[in-house]
């Protein structure tokens, strides 16, 4: 084999070492061609699954943990309350049972009558209106001759109630079964609203 002359090797190397001159729009041409290339079908998933490094300060993470714990405890308590209120009619929970009877057996019209000739105002209060005298539907009207009456809807079931005369005097219903309800010094009456007949 004949030896390659050294001056030929230098001439080839010199050509290879010469810097490449690119025009100004070369980069743009290349990127435009890259963009025209079809995207990968799972590109979004690939980006989502690519691991990334997130930095957070210890103080903020501690505060966030405490707030999340408080939120979880409050939510758990609220869920417990909601479950207690939504218990079925077979469980001895008054609110749930009353709610169920309101929906199924409904409420019945009950007439409340009190003879109070000197009264200016008579209201019916009881467990069916949270003992709140401000409910207009339980405010009696004077029918004349000292007779006060109101007909109001009462849920089916057992109830305790009384009349409030002139916003101050608590009076049991003389015509209704009495209760030995001496816890607060004023009498109450019992009312059983049945599925068929209001008592």
């Amino acid at each position: 084999m004949r030896a390659i002359p050294e001056r030929w090797v230098e001439r080839v190397a010199g050509e290879l070492r010469r810097p490449v001159q690119l025009d100004d729009g070369f980069d743009d041409k290349v990127m435009s061609e890259v963009r025209r290339l079809p995207r990968h079908r799972f590109g979004a998933w690939a980006r989502a699954l690519r691991p990334r490094t997130i930095t957070i300060s210890p103080l903020l993470s501690a505060i966030a943990a405490v707030l999340l714990l408080a939120l979880a405890l409050s939510a758990g308590h609220a869920i417990g309350m909601v479950r207690a209120l939504r218990t079925g009619p077979d469980r001895p929970d008054g609110a749930a049972e009353r709610a169920a009877t309101n929906q199924t057996s409904g409420r019945r019209d009950v007439q409340f009558v009190l003879v109070a000739p000197t009264a200016r105002k008579v209201q019916v209060v009881g467990d069916f209106n949270d003992w709140d005298a401000s409910h207009a539907e339980y405010r009696a009207e004077h029918r004349g001759g000292g007779v006060w009456s109101v007909t109001a809807k009462v849920p089916v079931g057992h109830h305790r109630y009384a009349f409030v005369v002139d916003d101050s005097l608590w009076v049991a219903d003389p015509a209704a079964p009495r209760l030995l309800d001496d816890d607060f010094g004023t009498p109450n009456s019992a009312l059983v609203v049945g599925g068929e007949v209001a008592q």
Partner: protein
């Protein structure tokens, strides 16, 4: 230092939010003062864990608040009712409805022995009577009008065994009330009217 202070504030805020959510309980109890409300919520939670009706307890607290009772008296009343509810449920059985348990608690509060509630339940079952709410209510009414507990208990038991239905119990109560209002002795009126009611059913106890 500032970081510790900020962390402490965040902890306090979070714990106070949680504690407030647990102490308010039923929203209606917000009408009570804080100390009373905490005690009532505890009693209600205890009753709920024992699967006792809780609405009567809340009602009792609201009644006390509306009648102007102080917190201590309200708590005492609710605690007493809780005990009576538990006793009534024990006497009437786990299948008793909320209304029966409430009426039973009223009867126990009036002085009826727990065994009489159990006897009433048995008598009602024999007479194929579904609920004893009204018999218990009438029994409590008799005692409240002056009939001795033992006499009232025997009367209501005999009426239940005779198969008296709710409208007849209501009529019996009304007649006894009218007799007493006209000056009759309470026991005599109740026993007389009971004999008539049993005769009306055509069955004897």
């Amino acid at each position: 230092m500032r970081a510790a202070w900020l962390t402490s504030c965040a902890c306090c805020i979070a714990l106070s939010v949680t504690a407030r959510a647990q102490t308010i309980g039923d929203a209606r109890l917000a009408r009570l003062d804080s100390a009373t409300r905490v005690a009532i919520v505890a009693l209600v939670d205890s009753a709920r864990r024992q699967r006792l009706p809780t609405e009567p307890l809340v009602d009792k607290a609201l009644e006390g608040e509306k009648k102007g009772a102080d917190g201590g008296r309200i708590v005492t009343a609710v605690r007493g009712l809780s005990v009576d509810l538990r006793a009534a449920r024990g006497s009437l059985g786990s299948g008793a409805s909320t209304d029966e348990i409430t009426a039973g608690a009223n009867a126990i509060h009036a002085g009826f022995p727990m065994r009489d509630l159990a006897r009433l339940r048995v008598a009602a079952q024999h007479a194929r009577r579904a609920r004893v709410t009204l018999p218990l209510t009438v029994a409590t009414d008799l005692v409240a009008r002056g009939v001795p507990v033992a006499v009232a208990s025997d009367i209501v038991l005999s009426l239940a065994r005779a198969g008296l239905r709710d409208p007849d119990f209501t009529m019996f109560q009304r007649n006894v009330r009218l007799d007493i209002e006209h000056g009759a002795d309470a026991s005599a009126a109740a026993q007389t009217r009971a004999r008539g009611a049993v005769l009306h059913t055509g069955r004897t106890s």
